[in-house]
Assembly symmetry: C2
Homo-oligomer: 365 residues x 2
């Protein structure tokens, strides 16, 4: 078994607290991606009785086998090149792969996973490539509507600082259990947009990624988040960035919980937004559509005139697929023009990265 002892990082850099000085297990390689795309996961756990692997590349769990040295291992695949999330369950405790520094984090513990990236032979659309790169800015702002200090992430396209022209803006929302970093750390929104800009496929735009929780309850949450968005975030962006102030240059898109937010807020505020998208949207119960979207369907012709894009996408393996399909049927029944994009895939960032790559060329055209 191949083990990597990180002498490099340890040499001369002794950490000193009693906490940090605790003996640590020798470093294993986990995950180890082999040339044929199979992946071996390892865990040093001589006392454990059962170790399970779960991940976006598997249906269900796979059991690790314990070696005579107390090191558990399991090999799966070949796995297609992608970025996946996975967990180990050690004697019933779902946790991370302790040998892998790449972690998925968020606003709740249920989101914590390890990250497995299997590289494509040539760069993927979400890879950092030698092209001009935009920046990610994190702002701490005082939300008057929520009476708290909140964080906000903003992507500016390459050359923004040197330019003098104005840019359109995409407001881009994360899902449940995530936070304002999710779209760039997990979704790689900045690298996807950098690559699309370098290829000349999109109109460069600023992307604004707010923190998606505003209230303690589900209905309240969208209302309070929407109030923060409209009364605090948008004015802050208009005052801080060189962006166009009109609805023709403003898009609103989100995934899962954020898809429910983008569709609900966007379609009820067509004076503010002209491009609206929902990815695997948690759009709620179809019985409520008529009420939630009354202003839209009661003025369908006006809405169709204002909407430059209404894009609803979901993977057929996603348990929210039925909701998206029902919402599309509701829109059709009410003569609201839209695109319903039915794809493969489940409720994962693999789908959402592709959707961002697909929808961005349709914006601000």
């Amino acid at each position: 078994m191949k083990r990597l002892v990180c002498a490099v990082l340890a040499a001369g850099i002794t950490t000193a607290s009693a906490f940090a000085q605790q003996p640590q297990a020798p470093r294993l390689v986990s995950p180890e991606v082999m040339a044929d795309g199979r992946v071996t996961f390892r865990l040093n756990a001589p006392k454990a009785e059962e170790v399970l692997l779960s991940g976006e590349f598997l249906d269900g769990n796979r059991k690790f086998e314990k070696g005579p040295d107390g090191i558990w291992a399991v090999t799966v695949g070949p796995i297609e090149p992608e970025i996946y999330h996975y967990n180990f369950t050690i004697d019933g405790v779902r946790t991370i792969d302790p040998a892998n520094p790449q972690l998925k984090t968020g606003s709740t513990p249920s989101t914590i996973s390890s990250v497995l990236e299997i590289k494509t032979p040539s760069p993927a659309f979400y890879d950092a490539q030698p092209v001009p790169h935009g920046d990610i800015r994190t702002h701490w702002y005082q939300s008057k509507s929520l009476n708290s200090i909140r964080r906000l992430t903003v992507y500016t396209p390459p050359g923004y600082d040197k330019a003098t022209s104005r840019y359109p803006v995409l407001y881009l929302f994360h899902g449940a259990n995530a936070d304002e970093n999710a779209w760039y750390r997990l979704g790689r929104a900045n690298l996807i947009l950098d690559n699309l800009i370098a290829a000349g496929k999109i109109t460069p735009f600023v992307a604004v990624m707010p923190f998606g929780y505003g209230g303690q309850q589900q209905g309240e949450n969208t209302a309070k988040f929407g109030k923060d968005l409209i009364e605090d975030v948008i004015p802050f962006i208009q005052a801080t960035y060189r962006v166009f102030p009109d609805r023709e240059h403003r898009a609103i898109v989100g995934l899962s919980m954020g898809g429910g937010q983008s569709l609900t807020i966007g379609l009820n505020n067509l004076d503010l937004f002209s491009y609206v998208g929902g990815f695997s949207a948690a759009i709620g119960n179809a019985a409520n559509f008529s009420k939630t979207f009354a202003p839209l369907v009661n003025h369908a012709d006006a809405a169709n005139g204002k909407l430059k894009l209404l894009w609803v996408g979901c993977g057929t393996e996603d348990s929210l697929f039925g909701a998206s399909k029902a919402f599309s049927e509701f829109l059709t029944a009410n003569h609201i023009k839209h695109t319903f994009r039915e794809t493969g895939g489940a409720h994962t960032w693999m789908v959402w990265r592709r959707y961002l790559n697909e929808i961005s060329p349709l914006l601000f055209r």
Copy 2:
């Protein structure tokens, strides 16, 4: 036992992949900070045989007790208000507290811990307060010297975008196993500087936090990192930000591995830097000081004329304390003016946050 079922975040936001749909244990509250400052940690692990707690608030480990429901718990403290890192060891596997979304991450797995924050009654110097806030910018840049795309974090003080004046620059380095996010996510550099600026205690400056690994071996690492710093990072910052171009407005400070880097690079490049600091610096073997710092000590008078500040700080509980003390003695023996700051504390972010708060008012004055 108090359990929090996060119905809020789960309601209507069903995640859909087989992976995400795996049953999860009911959510426990861990850590739970009580009014008297004691803290209870909990883990749902009916099958585990031994669970240990380690952390910066403890000497050694504490054993959890298993309850009849399979829920393990341990109460420690009272603990002083601070931000601490801790780990659970479950049947010999050192991992995180799976119920706590706050994680410390970095560039190697050994750095992964959970975060316990005990709030002070009034805001601490590192807390987000209702004052003007600076921004954090993350750049992806092409390093010509290292032939790779690297990330770089930059703090701009409040009002930077609207201002027209130039700013001084602090180059601020992280330690081993960390990354370019460490100084703001763990060190809260931005909030510390925001609060100092609001109190009128410092000259506002831009802080540049590069990724600290350049090479595969220890000596090579500092040399390659220094090459990237001088040939790529500094020119990039000069071209991108409204900063002064002269050595009088440039400081270089780092912690641990980054302290070795800031002292080595800074004191060998006094044409570039006039303020130099090392926090708990991994400054290496005293036998090498004469060679590493030959240009400094061979021209002590010239160096003293150029150095506006040379600040070396270390906690007495830090295993690197001896190295800092030896370095101070070496400087004294060679008539190099400096401040040697001996404090309490170990090799922790608690010390480094305080050092940043202490050194910043000494810069650019």
